[in-house]
């Protein structure tokens, strides 16, 4: 705490501007949060001044004038890289499409037993009182549990809920459902669905969410840095807690370092432009073949680390047999690879040699594993890195998290705050305890939601197990937007019409809220108090999230909504433990306070922390700046074995061999994807990639004025190669219809050379805006990429999503382009 480094000190000067936050009211508070509860904390707001808060996109300085947010800006600058997400808090709070009141779909309100689910998305909305809405949700939930059991209630929910330790809506939902009798949940996520299942077999750990070899080590030791299928300048704008923004600082240093930097990606990312890196453009879904070509080149040139392969890996020989075509007669050399990936043989050879001859860090993103057979790319990359033999050496090997949540930013020695959990004892009379024992049995891989809704009773294979889908009749979704994040939206819409009841807590009229039966209006995180850490790997700061403005319209905190629902089930005390929002925050902070005391690095009391409205920043010990991933394993593989069966890197996995899956073999392999540019009977002309957006957090912030800065023809842009565009008679600024047998969308054209021919790019996350509401197959006016993507599992192993495996057609849209209906009040 004392030795804040010089650079950071400069940024901390701004704190003097912050308003002192009221702590305890002179008069006892009226217990706004929970009726009948007396709070000792002040809920007074700053009418005029500057308030500190935080979002996934970092610590924010909000200027308040007469009780309204008038300005939003970053609390700190760690680099010159602009984080475009930080300036639009007022757009969110005062959005035209705020959900103002509890709303119920007309047919549902009329008869919840016969609610005409086919009208979802195209029915009238009826305003009801908050109490009426709570009673309705409680009654219908009880009914479904009675009729279908706990497994009939889907509350897996999913999405990037707002930052904060108490108003963590997904956990609050799980807490409520656990306390009242159980639910069907999910496993895995959309970001790393394939890798997080395959990596434990290969490396004995998740890999994708783990600290990387620290940046100072990379900057000192790596000679070549490869950014393979990642766009950190876009994705480092956010973090799961709140970004510490130091990833940008290190990418700025990387730019200045003069190192050889290579970006391998079908499109020229802004990261590639920024770093002035060499751009290599393979076809989407073909990185595996390209890596195999490199491995072959290295083996032929005897440029490999035989000792590393022998001592630290398992089963390389079996892979080598496959590489040399022992069974299929096909030698997977650079020439073979070139035909598949579209990168010339010479370049593949050159890259392989460059990597071997220099200390090379392979930084990979996750887009390549969100594809059919998405288990293979990172497995093959680990195999390539094993051949290169630099794993565990300073600045060498591979890293799967430099683009995410500031991986590689050294971990501070810090105290950790607590957070709300779902760990409550279920009520016995609701059969909850029995459910808890069986909970995992019903959980299915998260991206199988449409399949599960459509096929109750179907059994699927998953990572060596069998899972049978329950019959889902009630969905409760919070803090997420599946109508945008899930693949093949039209299939999901069909599936979405199966359950009797769908409840959504939301602040905005998202496409998902529009497809619900009961909508509960929630606050944004600027309308409630909270606390968060920043830096998922660095644990750099603890930040107060002081409520900036009053709750808008009839919006309630998720905590209040679930507390009131818990009351209907007679478990209010269990749910709230008789604590208010501020009492929870104090408790979470105190956890860190006590820990800090024990570690002999005292932090302010909660009162001082909250009143000052400033972050606490922790020191980074020198040893943490020198962290080298897998150095301990390399030093002593016997004492520090990996968590795999052999304790080594498994290039051949006997565990996977036993599963006997057709679409995931026991060794990494090239498996042709279901749709790709090189396939024999192409179902459409262009390969579509839908990477993480540059100016959104998935679908978040699409409803702000930030959209004006990137929209083309007032809709989501599509990037088209210059030659392709010319052939189709498309110019920049044109409205383009993109379509395949799954769906159709309208987008605005950006014609560019920064994209490989035959590929188009549409960033995921534009809000679905149907031409004909509630109708499957209708045109999406705003350009949501997932109308076109394929809803197939990566394989039977991981069942991850395959969003980057899709072919589409494009044509200039010559009719009058319809105006958008989304981003405003419905009806």
């Amino acid at each position: 705490m004392k030795n804040i480094n010089q650079k950071r000190r400069g940024f901390l000067k701004v704190v003097a501007l912050f308003a002192t936050v009221p702590f305890i009211d002179a008069v006892t508070n009226r217990g706004e949060l929970l009726a009948g509860t007396i709070t000792k904390f002040s809920t007074k707001l700053v009418e005029n001044g500057v308030v500190l808060t935080a979002a996934h996109w970092g610590m924010l300085k909000l200027t308040i004038k007469n009780g309204k947010v008038v300005k939003s800006e970053p609390y700190q600058k760690t680099s010159r890289i602009k984080n475009s997400l930080q300036y639009h808090t007022d757009d969110l709070v005062y959005a035209e499409d705020r959900i103002k009141y509890p709303m119920v779909r007309k047919s549902y309100l009329k008869d919840p037993n016969n609610p005409k689910p086919e009208l979802r998305g195209n029915d009238e909305w009826v305003r009801v009182s908050y109490d009426e809405a709570i009673k309705l949700v409680a009654k219908e939930l009880k009914k479904t549990r009675k009729e279908k059991g706990a497994k009939g209630v889907f509350a897996g929910s999913y999405g990037w809920k707002s930052s904060g330790s108490i108003h963590n809506c997904r956990v609050l939902l799980h807490r409520f459902m656990t306390a009242t009798g159980g639910f069907t949940g999910t496993v895995g996520d959309y970001s790393t669905g394939a890798s997080q299942v395959i990596m434990p077999h290969v490396l004995g750990t998740l890999e994708v969410y783990e600290q990387q070899t620290s940046w100072p080590v990379v900057l000192e030791h790596s000679k070549v840095v490869v950014i393979w299928g990642a766009n950190p300048l876009a994705t480092l704008k956010i973090a799961w807690t709140s970004t510490d923004e130091n990833g940008f600082k290190y990418f700025e240093e990387l730019k200045k370092s003069g190192k050889k930097i290579i970006c391998i990606d079908p499109y020229k990312t802004e990261t590639c432009d920024y770093l002035d890196a060499q751009w290599i453009a393979p076809n989407p879904n073909t990185d595996v073949a390209m890596m195999m070509g490199m491995i072959h080149t290295l083996l032929e040139a005897k440029k490999y680390d035989a000792n590393f392969l022998d001592e630290y890996t398992e089963g390389f020989d079996k892979f080598k047999d496959y590489l040399y075509g022992k069974d299929d007669g096909i030698v997977k050399n650079a020439k073979w690879a070139s035909k598949i990936c579209g990168v010339d043989k010479k370049t593949i050879n050159e890259l392989a040699n460059l990597f071997y001859d220099n200390r090379t860090m392979l930084m990979s993103g996750w887009g390549m594993q969100r594809a059919h057979h998405g288990e293979q790319p990172h497995w093959m990359m680990v195999t390539l890195a094993s051949v290169l033999g630099q794993i565990g050496l300073p600045g060498g090997g591979f890293g799967l998290s430099y683009h995410y949540s500031n991986g590689g930013v050294p971990t501070a020695k810090s105290a950790i705050i607590g957070g709300i959990t779902a760990n409550v004892t279920p009520s016995k009379d609701e059969g909850g305890a029995a459910w808890l024992r069986n909970a995992a049995k019903y959980s299915f891989p998260v991206a199988r939601i449409a399949d599960a809704l459509l096929n109750p009773g179907k059994t699927i294979d998953f990572n060596g197990k069998k899972i049978t889908y329950p019959e889902i009749d009630f969905i409760y979704w919070v803090g997420g937007n599946p109508m945008v994040h899930h693949q093949d939206t039209n299939l999901l819409i069909k599936a979405w019409k199966k359950p009797r009841t769908i409840v959504v807590n939301e602040a905005f009229w998202t496409p998902t809220a529009r497809m619900a039966d009961i909508v509960m209006p929630t606050t944004t995180s600027y309308e409630r108090n909270d606390i968060t850490a920043t830096g998922d790997y660095s644990n750099l700061n603890i930040v107060p999230m002081k409520q900036a403005v009053k709750k808008q319209y009839e919006a309630r905190d998720d905590y209040q909504i679930f507390s009131d629902l818990a009351k209907e089930f007679g478990v209010l005390d269990k749910y709230t433990q008789n604590k208010t929002e501020m009492q929870w925050i104090e408790e979470f902070y105190t956890k860190a306070y006590e820990q800090a005391k024990k570690m002999n690095m005292p932090i302010p009391t909660f009162r001082d922390f909250w009143t000052k409205n400033q972050p606490i920043t922790f020191d980074v010990p020198y040893e943490n700046t020198q962290f080298v991933r897998y150095a301990d394993f390399r030093e002593d593989p016997i004492l520090n074995p990996l968590g795999t069966p052999s304790g080594k890197i498994e290039i051949y996995s006997k565990t996977i061999e036993k599963m006997n899956y057709k679409d995931c073999k026991a060794y990494p392999s090239w498996l042709e994807p279901a749709e790709w540019v090189g396939m024999e009977k192409k179902t459409a002309e262009f390969a579509l990639i839908s990477p993480h957006p540059s100016h959104r957090l998935h679908s978040q912030l699409n409803n702000t004025s930030l959209r004006k800065e990137y929209a083309v023809a007032n809709r989501e842009p599509i990037w088209i190669n210059t030659k392709d565009a010319k052939e189709k008679g498309i110019k920049s600024g044109d409205v383009v219809r993109v379509f395949n047998d799954r769906g159709q969308i309208l987008v605005g054209a950006i014609v560019t050379d920064g994209l490989k021919q035959g590929i188009v790019k549409i960033e995921e996350g534009a809000w679905y805006d149907p031409m004909e509401k509630g109708k499957e197959g209708t045109l999406c006016k705003n350009g949501s990429a997932n109308l076109l993507t394929k809803d197939i599992p990566t394989s039977e192993l991981a069942n991850g999503n395959s969003s980057n495996t899709a072919l589409v057609n494009i044509e200039k849209y010559t009719k009058e382009a319809p105006s958008l209906s989304i981003f405003k009040q419905p009806n």
Partner: protein
Amino acid sequence: MKKSIFLSISLLSASLYASDIMYSSGVKNLFETSHSNARKGRLLPTSELKVLEKNGDKVKIEIEGFMKDGVSNAVYFVKGKRILMAGLSKSAKFDIKELSSSKDENGVEWKKVILTAYTKNENLTEDLDSLYSKAEGLFKNNCSICHPAHPAHEFTANQWPSMFKAMVNRTAIEKKDGYLVTQFLQKHAKDMKGE
């Protein structure tokens, strides 16, 4: 309530003299003799041990476990899985009795052994369940803040230590408790059913 407290107290005192099954509640040092204070081994929490006799502030104990061919300084909980019961220093000269020997599914030989050692007469309990409850509580209360907690039986006994190590720095779980939670997770892992 009172009765059970009385019962456990009486059992506890009896255990100091009789051959009793106990469990380590924290990481404990192992010594070669009753009068030695040179740490020659570490015993992990939830490890089962038999108390043979009391010597001053120490107890003489027996630990039954498995040793893997080629790894001379580790006693594991079961054959074929890296669930560490006791780690021994390279210079340690404990009395290790070999009971039997067999191969795991990968053809590696494991010896079933009984290790005799001394340890301080503290942090021992008969109540394994409450150790597990404590571990489970720590796990659920810390690991379900950012994401739904993974059930213990989602990963294998070999996978859990690296999984846990990768995530624990983001939680408030203290180092000493980390060993307890890891042991709980390993002993309830996917591949530990029925063992």
